[in-house]
Symmetry: C2
Subunit: 540 residues, 2 copies
Amino acid sequence: MLQPGLMMNLPLLLSSVIEHAAAQYGEVEVVSRETHGPLFRYTYAQCAARARKLANALSGLGLVAGDAVGSIAWNNHRHLEAYYAVSGSGMVMHTCNPRLQAQQLIYIINHAEDRVILFDATFAPLVKGIAAHCPNVRAWVCLADAGNTPTIDGVANVLSYDELVEPCSEVFAWPQFDENTAAALCYTSGTTGNPKGAMYSHRAIVLNAMSGCMPGLLSLSPSDAILPVVPMFHINAWCIPYAAPIGGTKLVLPGPKLDGQSIYELMESEGVTISAGVPTIWQGLLAYMEQHGLRFSTMRRTGVGGSAMPQALIAKFMDVYGVDVRHGWGMTETTAIGTMGILPPQSKTWTSEKKQALLAKQGRSAFGVEIKVVNEAGDTLPRDGSSQGELMVRGHWIIASYYKGEKSPLIDGWFPTGDIATIAPDGTMQIRDRTKDVIKTGGEWISSIDLESAAVGHPGVAMAAVIGVKHPKWDERPLLFIVRKPGATLEKEEILKFLETKVAKWWVPDDVVFLESLPVGGTGKVQKGDLRKQYGGVFS
Amino acid sequence: MLQPGLMMNLPLLLSSVIEHAAAQYGEVEVVSRETHGPLFRYTYAQCAARARKLANALSGLGLVAGDAVGSIAWNNHRHLEAYYAVSGSGMVMHTCNPRLQAQQLIYIINHAEDRVILFDATFAPLVKGIAAHCPNVRAWVCLADAGNTPTIDGVANVLSYDELVEPCSEVFAWPQFDENTAAALCYTSGTTGNPKGAMYSHRAIVLNAMSGCMPGLLSLSPSDAILPVVPMFHINAWCIPYAAPIGGTKLVLPGPKLDGQSIYELMESEGVTISAGVPTIWQGLLAYMEQHGLRFSTMRRTGVGGSAMPQALIAKFMDVYGVDVRHGWGMTETTAIGTMGILPPQSKTWTSEKKQALLAKQGRSAFGVEIKVVNEAGDTLPRDGSSQGELMVRGHWIIASYYKGEKSPLIDGWFPTGDIATIAPDGTMQIRDRTKDVIKTGGEWISSIDLESAAVGHPGVAMAAVIGVKHPKWDERPLLFIVRKPGATLEKEEILKFLETKVAKWWVPDDVVFLESLPVGGTGKVQKGDLRKQYGGVFS
């Protein structure tokens, strides 16, 4: 018969994260860009005190454990206080993606039954448009002082966060409860059908944040300063707002200013050593730096995810700017990081190109997550680096079902990601495509992502997208969309010839459409569904 | 009402640790010194396979979940396999300290109800002496191949580990069970009374190991190689055998050869970057290196604990050899690391001496452990760096009670460590003494540890110990014991004059006793109890 361990029985709660930082790294700074412009600066000890004030304030508004509090907000210190105050009180922190359409925002706020919405002044017009449709919301709290809180026509119950919080006591006894209690809620961007909610537990977030601190992932130490560009309104900003206090790491929050210049200046002025964001952010940053002949003083490493980072961009970061790139993978349903790639010790003797090729992949699974790829029959495929199948994940921070969902999405206990991937013998995973984007042609699969990466390798290409179009003989054939770089005169013949040198001949697209821009959705991803609607006819 | 999170519900089990390494870092090496001399080398994938074989073998011996398996063994790969096979099967891995007296060993083996004992050939004489007194042990398994397994007079059931394990299948379905199940058992060294058992759960060990991987603690990455000199037979070798597979870190196990030359050569040949051990090990290592004019090629960092590391030794490591020193604190009752010290970012502008002074302290608590110091009335003392009180700890890997213990040692949910400490405003903890060693004089406390550290700062002192001796006027006064360095001619007057320049006048010991050696116990610590018995009279 199993014997019990005889250890203290304490839950993994988010309140313990911010109180750890307050007690052990109380003097470490949190720096935040206010929505109205200036930088704000305080310490983890002060952040914890403000979180306790907010917890008292929410209680004063009549909210109780189990209630949901929504946010429509940038990465800033008040949003951070809310992360801890709301979840720490046993309530649910529901981060809303402001890039969702108003209809979807209304849907998720009502579906989540948010009682209070915290919003940044940027989104006042959005609030104006949706407030009347959200009858359960008893207060709209602007994350600002009174002077920067706008009045919103037709919305009566708008409060200033500072006015609400400041009078409250900074003494608050965090409740102790089951670590499997819901802490946070985030909805998928829902390109088809209604958005679906992933309800994260305290345990899941704490374990993910502990993993995220590790050297093989983000590597957060008390000597580092991390700037998460990845938004706190989407998959918990990779849990960086939770991991940094665990690691004793200075946290730099960029607020609404995500252009190259603002990010660069903040990195330099705050001694940022680590960042994380989507590829487009890094393109903007490097473009600004190149234009002005700038270098990094302290930056050492950046995490990248959301979509594949072009190898040329990885090369520039590493070889020109001396910044390590760590490609990660995760989705709304995986709380935050599922896998991340770093160079192995034997890479010291590799060429730059070989290193970059490895780092363009999504890496190994974090401890706490298992991965496998399966074929359409559900059989596990070999880890040979070439067998493509749907990526399945299992672990401590992977959802088992959607909020108010009717049936579990799991298959034999594994979550089907909808991504097509390969896994190499060393455990390195590479996303090849989405199941719905992969192009099935003549019984084989063409990765739309690989084709797009190859296309953006051409100097005249700013953006590229590939969809499969029905074909009478081959089932599907690839159609390429190109947005030219400013001033580029690239034509169809040239890009197809270029691709012939980069991919297998049968991968070369059947046609090319040049566009001024690509349709981009709520999480910054190209909406291939829109392209399919307009261009998805039949090749002849 | 609290809402439930909707995440997968998987237990934190040790089997998942070794299987993570096998799947994600399958090619990373484990290198181990055989007890009979040569180096052995394999990978995490092979280690996991052998652990599964051993799990089958234990089952074949009739053992079932809940049974205890003892070990009397060095840090080596078979011991590592046992760590995972035993605990992963739902059994209890009971590591026995071979430095305990035979009577104590017999006591703990019977108290733990060990069914099988794994031992290294070194300890065959020990086994011979105790086997007859351990009637529940049905097999004594020597961690060796058949050729290196001794016959032991009077012990019939001696088996060779390799002979037992090799025929077994490497397929074994690790059972899934509650993460609070007992995984490992370690007894205190018990200077007074019988040893007491700390029963670690899977959850406690996994959480500690995750914490240990973090940059602010051991910082284990896939680019590192760690050599734990801290023994696997005592507080789980700081959980390094669990943390390294989580971090994807190469593991180098030194077997029985812990002399300076052997450790140095192993560090160099295996590219070791991180180590961990007690101060005496590092003294031996540096003595060897100095004697031969050697330098480290790859070593970057060493963890130190068990007793206070003299500042002079820290200085030598850092300034002469360029190796960071991280002082840690933990005890049998805290599974492994409770606190660890690293330099803060602002230390870049500090003098070497200021850095070393900070690193001589025991550092900040790991995420997962809370610390406080209390006075004799149990009131929490301020974190001012000077208020001394008993160190109290609470956390995920701290015991709540002893195995088969009658009453919980906890006070208001905190474990009283028996250590006297201070906590600085920045959270840095410093052990000042043991509650039973601190010298209470004229209503004030003198730290015996601080006095000893000051004394070993004298070039003629090899070892020093201080005890309190009853005094008619002052209650207690310090008595200093000195072991001179070979060739040193130090006398009482000189050392007392030296100390007057290092400590407050009222701290200077009343007398000095010169000894050839100090009594050292099972875990390498000076046995002050023995000194007290012999010298603890009354000062006049």
